[in-house]
Amino acid sequence: MKRAWLGCLLLGSLLFAAPQDSDNNVNARYVVETVIVSGKGWTANLQSETTDKISTSLLHQLTAIIGQKLNPASLDTLAQNLKRELSASEVTHRIVRGETPEQVRVEFEVRPARATLGMNVNQFLYDSREGFNGSGEATVTLQQHVFALGLVSNGDWLPERFSGLVARYEDKHVGTDRLSFKFEAESFHAQWNRATVAAMSENPADVPALYRARQAFQPTATVVLAKPLTLTLGARIERFVEEGPAGQIETANAVITDLHFHQSTEGPGSQQDFDADCSLHMATRALNSNYVYSARTAGVRYQFRSGKHIVTDNAWGGFITGLAPLSDRFVLGNSEYLRGWNKYEIDPLGGNRALSNSVEYHYGPFQAFYDAGAIWDAGEPIVVRHSVGLGLRESVFSLAVAIPMRSGRVEPIFMMGILP
C-alpha cells in the first residue's frame, strides 16, 4: 500500500506541475501562424505541408500549436521531442514575426548529431501480484547506427519470469530510407511459477518442456513497401537449456515475417490513428529446429482523439499449430491483455489460441478500460473472460486498478509504473 501512495504522489506531482513560462513571456499573447522545421537539406512548413522525417505523433504535437496562443514552455518540450526522435545534437527554436500582425512563426532548426549516448528505461512496472518488472538499456547512436545493451527482468509477458541481457544493433538507413536492418541477441534465465510446474506435471506429453535458460539471435530487415505499409523479414534462432541435470539443448529456429500498416488522419479538432499488423513465425526441420510449429498473429488498433478525449480499441488474436516452446505461447492476464486476471489461473502454460479486445477511454490523465479475451488450446472449450479498470495516466506513467469480472469474489489488481 505504501508503494501505491508513493505512486499516487509521483503521478500527482506530474499532473499538477505546470510550466509557468507562458506567464513570463510577453509573446504568449500572440497566435502561432505556422511551425517550420528545418534540418540538413530539408525544410517543412507544417501549415501547408508534411514531412516523412518526423513521426505522425510528433507531427500532431507540432501542428497542434498552430492557431493557438503561443506557449514558449511547450516549444522547449517540442524541441526536446524532436531532438530525441531525430537523434539530433541540438534543436533550437526561434519565434519570428508572422505575415499577419500579432501572429508569429515558430522555427525549429535541427542539427544532426554524429554520436549520442543514452540510458533508457523502457518498462518499470509494479504489479501487486507479479511484483516488479523492468527493462533498461544503454544506447550509443552513431548517425543511423544504433548499438544497445540492456538488462531485463520480466514476469509479465510470458508464462515464465525471464531475466538477463539483451543486445541490439540497428541500421536505420541501409542505402535508402526505405530499408533498415536490426540484429538482436538475448540471453535469459527462466524462473517458473508453481502453477506452471504443477500444470506441466499433469500434462507432460501435450506441452513443451520447461527450460532454465534460453538464448536467441534475431536478424531482421524492414522494407517500406509503400508508405505506410512495411514488411519485416528475418529469422529467429533460439536455443533452450532444458531443466534437469542433463540440461538437454533444444532449438527453435524460425523464419519471421511481419506486415505492418499505420495510417493517421486528421480532421478539424480530431485525429484518428489506425494500425494493423499480421505476423508469421514458422519453425521447420529445414532450419534444423527441434520445435516444429507456426505461429500466426493479427491485430488492429484504432484510436480517436478529440481534445482531451481519447478512445482506443485494440483487438488481437493468434493461433499456433505444431509444438511451440513455452516462450512463444500466448499469454492473457498481464499488464496489457485481459488486465486484472491472473495468467497462472487462466492458463499457467499459456495457450496456442488467443483472442483479445480492449476498449480504453481517456479524459486527460483519467482512464477507464474494458478488456475481454479468451485463451485456450486447440480442442478445448473457449471461455471468454472480462475485466474492467480505472486509473490515471500521464505521459508514460500509469497507475491503474483492474478488476476481473467473475462471480464470487472480487480480487482487484493494482498496477503502477512506466508503461510505454
Binding site: 510577453v26 540510458m119 533508457n120 518498462q123 508514460v396
Partner: protein, 205 residues
Amino acid sequence: MPEPSRGLQISRRGWLFASLVAPLFPARAADSLIVTFDDNNLHISSLGLHFLQGKSLSRLKDGSTVEYVATVGLFRDQFVTQLKRPAEYHFFVSYDIWGTGDVFAVSTPGPPARRATNLSLSGAETWCLERVVVATVGIARDQQFWLRLELRTVPPKLSSVLGETGIHVNVIEVLTPGQDERQTFTSGPLRLEDLIRTPRKGRAG
C-alpha cells in the same frame, strides 16, 4: 644601475603569458558599481551597468524567456568574510517580437509578482536593478564593507526524460550541461556614511 623605465617594460613573452593566464581569473572582469543609500537600504545604480547582452540577448531576440538571478553579497573584507547572507533576486526577461523597436518585458516571480512591458534594453536593466535592495540592519554607519553583485542566467532546462516509449536520459547532455552566463560587479570599501543619499525607495525583504 638599471634604468627606471626598464622596470615598466613588458616583454613579448610577458604579454603572451599574461594573455594565457588572464582567462583563468574570473574576477578580472569585475566592474565597479555605484551604490546608493536611502537610510534603510542599499540600492545599486544601473548607470554604466549592462547585463542584457551576449548569448542571452540572442536567446531573448529568438523569443525565449531568459531567467536572470541577481545575488548581492556584503563582505567585511575584500570578498572573503561575509557580513550578511547573500540575497537572491529572480527576473524573467522576454523580448517583444511585435514590439515597436527593441522592447522588452520583465517580471519577478513574487510574491507579489511584478511585471513591466514596453521597456527599452536599458529600461529593462534599470527595472531589474531597482528591485535589488539590501537592508542595512546591523551595519554601523562608519563600518567598512565591500559589496558584490553577481548576475547570472539560468541555462535552458535539460531535455525532459519522459518519452513515448519510456524514460530516456541523454548522457552527453547530462555530462555537458548548458553554461550559464555570469557577470560580477563589485564595489568597496564602502561606508554607509559616505554613500550617496537617495530618497527612500522601498524595503528589503
